[in-house]
């Protein structure tokens, strides 16, 4: 077998290996467009946060690991002012979560919350997921 053929087949194999996590992630996203990150707010203040803080837990549910994760949550009040909370992790795998502690005062006055999650899917492909949703009345 010629060197060119071996290198060609090796190249196809390497590309297939690196493309698989991407295809799998996109397949999962396409099947569950809202489920890659599941946000859960604790119903009462307390652990793992302080006595007057609610725990906002964001659980990563995609089977493909994400590296270098940065999460920003912005709570916007009716008067336009906003409070920003950040969390980060080196790696997020399926089922692992990031927790933000949000003071009850901020939560009470917030009218909208937006999340921005950045990282790299399979440690290779840069990804950014953003969401915005109204809070309370």
């Amino acid at each position: 077998m010629r060197i060119g053929t071996i290198v060609f087949l090796g190249g196809v194999l390497i590309i297939a290996i690196f493309a698989l996590p991407l295809i799998y992630f996109l397949y999962y996203i396409a099947a569950n467009p809202y489920q890659a990150i599941v946000a859960n707010m604790s119903s009462t203040p307390g652990p793992p946060c302080g006595e007057t803080e609610y725990a906002l837990k964001l659980t990563y549910s995609d089977p493909v690991p994400m590296g270098d994760v940065q999460l920003t949550a912005t709570f916007t009040e009716a008067n336009g002012s906003s409070f920003v909370f950040r969390a980060s992790a080196n790696v997020l795998t399926k089922g692992r979560s990031l927790t933000l502690c949000v003071p009850s005062g901020v939560l009470a006055s917030a009218r909208a919350v937006s999340f921005n999650l950045t990282g790299s899917i399979g440690f290779v492909y840069p990804l950014s997921i953003s969401s915005w949703q109204p809070v309370g009345g």
């Binding site: 060119g4 996203i29 997921i129």
Partner: protein, 151 residues
């Protein structure tokens, strides 16, 4: 090379051209298109929507270069034609990538009630891998093959 050998090389060249054509004109663009479809991109069939003139030109060029590379196998023109095949393949893939996901970024957004979600995924590392592991060897190796085996 007698007429029989030339005919044999032409047939093999046509078949090789078909393989290149399938790989660069349909399979790789179909993969790019598929990635876009998975992320909810609107362009579903970029792999099959070349203007007819482009498709005929691409097929003609792939076949002509492949046949020429086979027939001129013992000459230095053969690796040049093979390298051109790889480079034209890259042009085709980049053209499709630019059509389906400009800048190599898949973007999509969803709405559920009042909530809005958006996603942006950069697939350029995959293009870089394609260039490094398929195009670059495709350009360089025909010359190594030629100087190692043919000379």
């Amino acid at each position: 090379m007698n007429a029989r050998e030339v005919a044999r090389e032409v047939i093999i060249g046509v078949l090789e051209g078909l393989v290149y054509m399938l790989l660069y004109l349909y399979l790789l663009p179909a993969l790019v298109s598929y990635l876009g479809v998975l992320a909810g991109q609107p362009s579903l069939s970029a792999a099959y929507s070349y203007p007819v003139a482009y498709a005929v030109a691409y097929i003609g060029v792939f076949e002509a270069l492949s046949v020429a590379a086979r027939v001129l196998r013992k000459t230095v023109f053969s690796p040049i034609f093979r390298s051109l095949l790889a480079l034209i393949g890259l042009v085709v893939v980049l053209y499709v990538l630019g059509t389906v996901m400009p800048g190599g970024v898949i973007s999509s957004s969803y709405s559920a009630g009042q909530a809005k979600y958006s996603l942006s995924l950069d697939v350029y590392p995959l293009v870089l891998l394609f260039v490094v592991f398929l195009v670059l060897p495709g350009v360089v190796l025909p010359f190594i093959d030629y100087f190692v085996y043919e000379r």
